[in-house]
């Protein structure tokens, strides 16, 4: 037993002899909001898929919530939001939410409550009867986030959750993520490009070419590299501009 929600040890992964994840170790403490920063193609999504158990690492181990990945229990405990919206566009928002809710062991009453809660959180309650095919990009993103929250998971893994969402809603979603972390002790792992989002994380890990090139609190990182903002941190840590 330790205090880590996710513990990654010397993880490696290559695709067709191209090393995507170089030996990488990372510990994510429980109850924290961890940001994973990096340019596209740096291995963020590959790393997340391995944590989810959807990709098999070539080497190394991943433990999530003290269980070795892959594990059936973890699929219940992790709320996942993929980088691309995986929604049934010919169904309504409500039907999508109910469909995914039914895949988790929830009673009917719990399911109704969770669907209402998740829809309200992403401000989609009024559009639930609409076919998802008619949703805007931002609405689809919000619905994906609602689905990630549907079973009230202990750990949230969100792959670029706020792409295409307007600033007002983005702010609200981040407030809710922080509330979930503070009041419901959830651990949250978020990948992002956006520097203002990086600022709000408790911990940051910078990923480049499959390696963690810097890790720490936002303030510590900035102090360490004597930088004003994260673009600068990233440059000084050996990366390019995001």
């Amino acid at each position: 037993m330790d205090n880590h929600a996710i513990s990654i040890k010397v993880l490696e992964k290559s695709f067709q002899h191209k090393q995507v994840i170089a030996p990488l170790s990372l510990d994510i403490p429980k109850g924290q909001l961890m940001g994973l920063l990096g340019p596209s193609g740096c291995g963020k999504t590959t790393l997340i898929k391995m944590i989810m158990g959807m990709l098999k690492p070539d080497n190394g181990t991943i433990e999530v919530l003290d269980l070795v990945v892959p594990h059936q229990q973890l699929l219940k405990d992790i709320g996942y939001m993929a980088q691309s919206d995986a929604l049934y566009t010919d169904l309504t928002g409500e039907e999508n939410l109910h469909f995914f809710a039914k895949l988790y062991p929830l009673s009917k009453a719990e399911r109704m409550e969770r669907v209402a809660y998740a829809a309200n959180l992403v401000r989609l309650t009024d559009d639930l009867q609409l076919n998802v095919g008619n949703y805007s990009g931002g609405m689809k993103r919000r619905l994906s986030l609602a689905i990630a929250l549907i079973q009230n998971p202990k750990l949230l893994i969100l792959d670029e959750p706020t792409v295409g969402i307007d600033p007002v809603l983005k702010k609200e979603i981040w407030q809710e993520l922080i509330r979930l972390k503070d009041q419901e002790q959830k651990t949250i792992l978020v990948t992002t490009h956006a520097m203002d989002e990086a600022e709000r994380c408790d911990q940051l890990a910078m990923l480049r070419n499959g390696r963690i090139i810097a890790q720490g609190t936002p303030q510590a990182l900035k102090n360490h590299y004597q930088a004003k903002d994260f673009d600068e941190v990233f440059l000084k840590a050996g990366g390019d501009v995001l």
Partner: protein
């Protein structure tokens, strides 16, 4: 109930996709009707040339809807040139029937009607009837023999197409991957698909079979329940094969490319062309195709009046195909999640 969740979702999606529903339920009827009319269209006006025919016989033949041309100086060459359907030359004790046989179904109809007439006692004057063919021979296949197989083929084809593309859409849109990030088991996904699309395949089977038997009047000697049973198993094989092959296709277009590879060759081995005359190695190729067994069973029940015990081997083989394909489906999902 996670399987139930998938089944409900499939029903919701299908209800909204009216065109796919129409393809599933109406297209087979349209094609089946077309083939029926094409193969049967000329049957009413068969032209028969009669040489030296006695008056009562001519009368009988005219009553039986034949168009009769009386010509005592007729030759086989003339028959070939003018493309009449047949030539009946009456001689004492040794009559001769020459069939053009350019269209086997018509030649068959002609001989059948003629046989009915010549059985009547008043016309025994025809004596021995010797039959000769301008084209082909007596064993050429006819619509009656392959119409049962057509029913099985349409069930197979349309179910294959619709499940294959539906599952492909799920793969390309990322929803399948998303689905596998939930606690659902791989076998539950496959079961959900089998039940969900199986329901639609079941409805389709009932509609095609009833339409074929009651509207198009396709010959059926055996039990209609057996016909339904065979087609349900065919639908299951096709469902699981479509789902499996969709994992080897990257787009809808690539899914379509399986039609000439997987569907068309099966047609050749399902009774349209006589199997007995094929080379041994060719027949063996037929034996790896599900439609070969389906056509054999359907033909047996509808044309020859076979009972359940006569087709149990075919049904078992078809069920084995389905089980193998379903298992492979469950294994192929490992690509997305190892659990």
């Amino acid at each position: 109930m996670r399987i139930g969740a998938i089944v409900t979702r499939i029903i919701q999606q299908m209800k909204r996709d009216k065109r796919t529903l129409a393809l599933l339920f109406l297209a087979p009827l349209l094609v089946l009707s077309l083939m029926y009319f094409i193969f049967n269209s000329n049957e009413a006006s068969i032209t028969l040339v009669v040489s030296n025919g006695p008056a009562p016989l001519i009368e009988k033949l005219k009553n039986a809807d034949f168009s009769i041309i009386e010509d005592d100086e007729f030759t086989k060459k003339q028959l070939q040139d003018k493309e009449y359907d047949g030539w009946l030359a009456i001689e004492q004790n040794n009559s001769k029937l020459t069939l053009l046989n350019d269209d086997p179904s018509q030649a068959k109809a002609l001989t059948m009607q003629l046989a009915q007439i010549s059985h009547q006692p008043s016309l025994t004057a025809m004596g021995n009837l010797e039959t000769d063919y301008v084209y082909g021979e007596a064993d050429t296949a006819i619509f009656d023999i392959f119409s049962p197989m057509l029913i099985g083929f349409f069930v197979f084809f349309f179910v294959f197409l619709i499940t294959g593309i539906a599952l492909l859409k799920e793969r390309t849109s990322g929803t399948l991957e998303r689905l596998l990030a939930t606690p659902i088991k791989r076998s539950e996904i496959v079961a959900g698909y089998m039940v969900g699309y199986g329901l639609f395949a079941f409805l389709q089977t009932i509609i095609i079979v009833l339409f074929g038997i009651y509207v198009l009047d396709i010959v059926h000697v055996g039990s209609i329940w057996l016909v339904l049973l065979i087609n349900m198993v065919v639908a299951l094989v096709s469902l699981s094969l479509g789902a499996l092959l969709s994992s080897f296709a990257a787009s809808e277009f690539q899914m379509m490319q399986f039609i000439p590879l997987v569907i068309v060759p099966q047609v050749f081995f399902s009774g349209i062309f006589p199997l007995d005359s094929m080379a041994e190695w060719l027949q063996n190729i037929g034996r790896i195709m599900p439609l070969y067994y389906a056509a054999d069973a359907l033909n047996g029940v509808m044309y020859k009046g076979y009972s359940f015990y006569d087709i149990i081997v075919n049904l078992t083989i078809l069920a084995c195909f389905a089980i193998v394909f379903i298992t492979l489906n469950i294994i192929s999902l490992k690509k997305y999640r190892s659990l």
